[in-house]
């Protein structure tokens, strides 16, 4: 973790393009989530350490989001619209998922091992990627016919 922080600080100072930093920060976020998930499930740790482990992925996500927000300013209007529509698709699907799971839980009492809050994070990420594919197709990004 300390090494990551040192690397992040070094990257911020090196003025590397945001487009280069963004995938790395996304990777750090995903790895910190998986790492925290694994550690909390498999290890018996002191409560203070468990609290830190639950906060680390949120901090990593905040860093990713901040960098993404800055990167948006460098995008052109088509790229911004594509990402905005992808976010709308992801939000709508996420809302439907949470709403449906809530109702199913009342009706059938979901088993914690079958459905859990922790399954939602990768689902929401997948929803955003689905949104990106739909939006890119809409604006002809993937079906290029150019010279």
């Amino acid at each position: 973790m300390y090494i990551w922080l040192k690397q992040i600080r070094a990257m911020e100072k090196s003025k590397k393009p945001l487009s280069d930093r963004l995938p790395l920060y996304a990777l750090i976020w995903v790895l910190s989530y998986i790492g925290s998930l694994g550690a909390l499930k498999m290890l018996s740790l002191p409560e203070e350490f468990e609290v830190i482990l639950t906060i680390v992925p949120a901090l990593a996500f905040a860093l990713f989001l901040y960098t993404f927000y800055r990167y948006v300013h460098l995008m052109d209007e088509v790229q911004i619209k594509i990402r905005m529509e992808a976010a709308v698709v992801a939000f709508s699907l996420a809302l439907v998922t949470v709403m449906t799971l809530g109702l199913v839980d009342i009706a059938f009492k979901l088993n914690g091992e079958d459905w859990n809050f922790r399954f939602l994070a990768p689902m929401f990420m997948a929803y955003y990627l689905i949104g990106l594919v739909i939006s890119k197709r809409k604006y002809n990004i993937d079906h290029e016919e150019h010279d």
Partner: protein, 68 residues
């Protein structure tokens, strides 16, 4: 809304990438605008017209379906 970007590009012998660089957008954006999949902002339309040395109205025209 229809446009004559492809015609104007051909007149200048510019590729999509060259036009994109001149007006500060991605080549994909030009592809999307040229295919009438995306309607550009006023600023971008004006920038494009300036590069072509033409008026915005000569590059972008309303279609029947755009009229109220």
């Amino acid at each position: 809304m229809k446009n004559t970007i492809k015609v104007e590009r051909a007149k200048k012998n510019w590729t999509q990438a060259e036009l994109a660089e001149k007006i500060g957008v991605s080549r994909q954006a030009i592809n999307s605008i040229e295919a009438s999949k995306f309607v550009p902002s006023t600023v971008l339309a004006l920038r494009m017209a300036k590069e072509f040395g033409a008026s915005v109205e000569s590059i972008f025209q309303l279609e029947e379906t755009d009229l109220v």
